[in-house]
């Protein structure tokens, strides 16, 4: 096949892509834009009549179909850490395609940590803004965009400078806007000064749901970081048992003598590769039960002042490259929802249903959120969020999750769009009442509706 060369030559390849859950594979034109003329290339993609749809894609860590558009153009930006700068106040200026991984490698040794990190460091600045990601410090520090001062947005109707004072409506539509307002080319954000590349961690076991929630609600405020692993298979008296890991950046005087030699040495964990032949069906309810039992019992009742490297606290799974393939050819999904404060009984009810249904979930994480921001489609709000990884395959899964959707809705909760892969348009419309306002602002940046993702089509977001 031949094709006529485009006005500015771009590196395009037709490719099958999917989200992290490997559930919805589609064919898209992947365009890797260059460093030197990024803005021109993005503009030419938007104005090219051959572009049916376009959506930016970062490192593909969204579980569902947020960073793909079947039959359209998927824009991939360069990881350009070398052009980043930081000033004496810790304000980082960085390009949209740069990963948190690259930022940490460069700036942790200089005494700066990213203000918010999710459970993986393989996300881009653009992706972090588009999903308005949260981390273990949400109850204290809020979500990612709470630390962003300015953004530059390349959109079909032009390029915009965004901040809380300039084009504020577009700023807050872009925060959590799943890339649908345009492509983030630059952002400036406030980095967190650190003395060491270590976390002073406390591990605490909670014997059941009530204890877990009361410990979190009672003393989360004493820790910058807090998250709980929760056993979603345990039933009866131990339903909702879990292990809390909380902590803060270790100060220099808390380090051991060896660690003190190079306190800011950043050691991203070694990258094992999950073998592609990893036998399917190993992750089933039996193996998960055994794992959960061992994990819970191995955790100490209470252990304080453990000094651990940043990576092992924040990004343990990043140590296994391609761990998502271990769920086999049907892939997996993550069900992450939020129920507001005061809806703890709804949370208990949902957890009971999950533990009864025996959906195999290794990675079940409970986190208490702090304040919400003004992002029209931002996920976090005061309350509890639970995230479960579930393999696709059981025929009962769809009905179970539909039922949980109803419970979440009834509790005035919502689902996280970055993880979403199966809800209905109507459900999402009820969970995100500001969708209408979002659509109105999207029309300013994208009047012809070129920016579309499979997620936005599936969930009727625009």
């Amino acid at each position: 096949m031949t094709s006529s060369p485009s006005p500015t030559s771009r590196h395009t390849k037709k490719q099958l892509i999917s989200g992290w859950g490997r559930t919805q594979f589609v064919s898209s034109n992947l365009v890797e834009v260059g460093r030197s003329n990024e803005l021109d290339q993005i503009t030419s993609i938007f104005s090219d009549s051959a572009t049916r749809f376009a959506i930016p894609r970062g490192l593909g860590r969204s579980y569902g179909d947020a960073a793909q558009v079947a039959g359209g153009t998927v824009i991939v930006q360069p990881d350009d850490i070398d052009s980043s700068t930081i000033d004496e106040n810790g304000v980082l200026k960085v390009s949209g395609g740069t990963s948190l991984d690259a930022i940490m490698k460069k700036y942790v040794p200089n005494g700066y940590f990213v203000p918010v990190t999710p459970g993986t460091r393989f996300v881009t600045i653009g992706g972090a803004i588009a999903a308005d990601i949260h981390g273990k410090n949400h109850h204290i520090s809020g979500s990612f965009v709470d630390h962003v001062n300015t953004m530059q947005l390349a959109a079909p109707s032009g390029n915009f400078n965004l901040s809380a004072t300039e084009n504020a409506d577009i700023f807050w539509a872009t925060a959590g806007g799943m890339g649908l307002t345009g492509v983030i080319t630059m952002a400036s954000l406030n980095m967190l000064p650190i003395e060491t590349a270590y976390i002073n961690m406390e591990t605490r076991r909670a014997k059941d749901f009530d204890e877990l929630l009361s410990v979190m609600a009672g003393s989360d405020a004493d820790f910058r970081y807090s998250v709980a692993w929760i056993d979603c298979i345990a039933k009866g008296a131990s339903m909702g048992r879990g292990v809390l890991t909380r902590g803060d950046h270790a100060s220099l005087d808390q380090l051991g003598p060896k660690q003190k030699i190079d306190p800011l040495k950043y050691r991203p964990n070694s990258r094992l590769v999950a073998p592609p032949w990893f036998p399917p069906h190993i992750l089933n309810s039996m193996s998960v039960r055994a794992f959960n039992e061992a994990w819970f019992l191995k955790a100490p009742q209470l252990r304080q002042d453990q000094i651990v490297p940043l990576t092992s606290y924040f990004h343990p799974l990043d140590g296994i490259q391609g761990w998502n393939r271990m769920y086999g050819r049907n892939g997996f999904l993550q069900y992450q929802f939020l129920v507001p404060d005061g809806e703890e009984e709804a949370l208990r009810k949902i957890l009971e249903k999950i533990s009864k249904a025996k959906v195999a979930s290794f990675l079940a994480v409970l986190k208490r959120f702090g304040k919400a921001n003004s992002g029209l489609l931002s996920f976090p709000a005061p309350g509890w969020t639970l995230a479960l990884d579930i393999p696709v395959g059981a025929s009962s899964l769809s009905d179970l999750l539909d039922e949980l959707d109803k419970d979440v809705l009834e509790a005035n909760g919502k689902l996280y769009l970055a993880k979403e892969s199966r809800a209905s348009c109507d459900t999402i419309k009820q969970m995100y009442p500001k969708l209408k306002e979002f659509s109105r602002i999207k029309e300013i940046t994208d009047p012809n509706g070129i920016i579309v993702s499979d997620l936005s089509r599936r969930l009727c977001l625009t």
């Binding site: 099958l16 559930t23 594979f25 064919s27 079947a70 039959g71 696709v392 769809s398 539909d402 892969s421």
Partner: protein, 256 residues
């Protein structure tokens, strides 16, 4: 679009009055598919089917439209594509559930009827499947289900017009899968044994016979896992593949 469980939003059923096609549509509606287009010749039957499909969805959020399609008619394929794309923003899944059994004894003498059996089951159906596959390649995703038959695995004396047409269709669809899989499009070939439907009502039931509902269930189990082909019931696959390997002088004596 598809969701993580591979449930499509929009579905086209070609052979809109086929019992198997309608059973698959009902099962999909129950799972959450929202828009259906039924394409076929009998508006009356399709309208009844449309009502059944709508009421299969507990939330009642299903819309079903009905369009005329006669695979033997001139321009049938382009009209099918035009009217379907007018109804559906994307054609996520298409079920080709067209099939005409014919009367073998009659076909051996009525050669015009014989030609039509080959056209309806294969030679005019294959271009229609290719046409929908082309739409799906452009949209970058999609899933095609082709109702084949065990009759096509080894063509038999007792129905060799129908059997050879299904053999052609089966081979076409399997190779089409190889052609489009890299474009994000899947093809699943379904090979039922004897299905008790109106098409076979006049025939005595064969061993290992099945129902339209069972075929629908097995079909979706196969599409969920994006399998290339499936026999319904599973046991009939073993039987016909043994039969396929029999030396001809023995196969000739097997009474079916």
């Amino acid at each position: 679009m598809f969701d993580a469980m591979h449930t499509p939003d929009n579905v086209l059923i070609v052979g809109g009055s086929s019992e198997i096609g309608v059973e698959i549509a009902k099962a999909l509606a129950k799972r959450g598919s929202t828009k259906f287009v039924l394409a076929g010749r009998s508006f009356e039957t399709m309208q009844r089917a449309a009502n059944e499909i709508s009421s299969a969805n507990p939330a009642g959020a299903t819309s079903v439209s009905v369009i005329y399609f006669d695979v033997l008619a001139e321009n049938a394929v382009s009209e099918l594509i035009t009217s379907t794309t007018a109804e559906l923003s994307t054609i996520d899944m298409t079920i080709f559930a067209i099939g005409t059994l014919g009367d073998q004894a009659q076909l051996e003498t009525d050669l015009k009827a014989a030609q039509e059996i080959l056209e309806a089951n294969f030679s005019k159906l294959a271009p229609a499947i290719q046409g929908i596959a082309n739409v799906m390649v452009t949209q970058g995703f999609g899933h095609i289900v082709v109702l084949s038959s065990v009759a096509g695995v080894r063509v038999r004396r007792s129905n060799y017009f129908y059997g050879s047409a299904k053999a052609g269709l089966d081979g076409f669809a399997m190779a089409l899968n190889d052609a489009v899989i890299k474009e994000g499009v899947n093809v699943t070939v379904v090979r039922p044994g004897f299905v008790r439907t109106k098409m076979t009502a006049h025939l005595p039931a064969a061993p290992l016979s099945t129902t339209a509902a069972a075929v629908a269930k097995a079909t979706l189990a196969a599409t969920d896992k994006q399998r290339n082909s499936v026999y319904v019931p599973t046991a009939i696959g073993v039987v016909v593949n043994i039969y396929r390997l029999l030396p001809r002088f023995i196969a000739r004596k097997v009474p079916f």
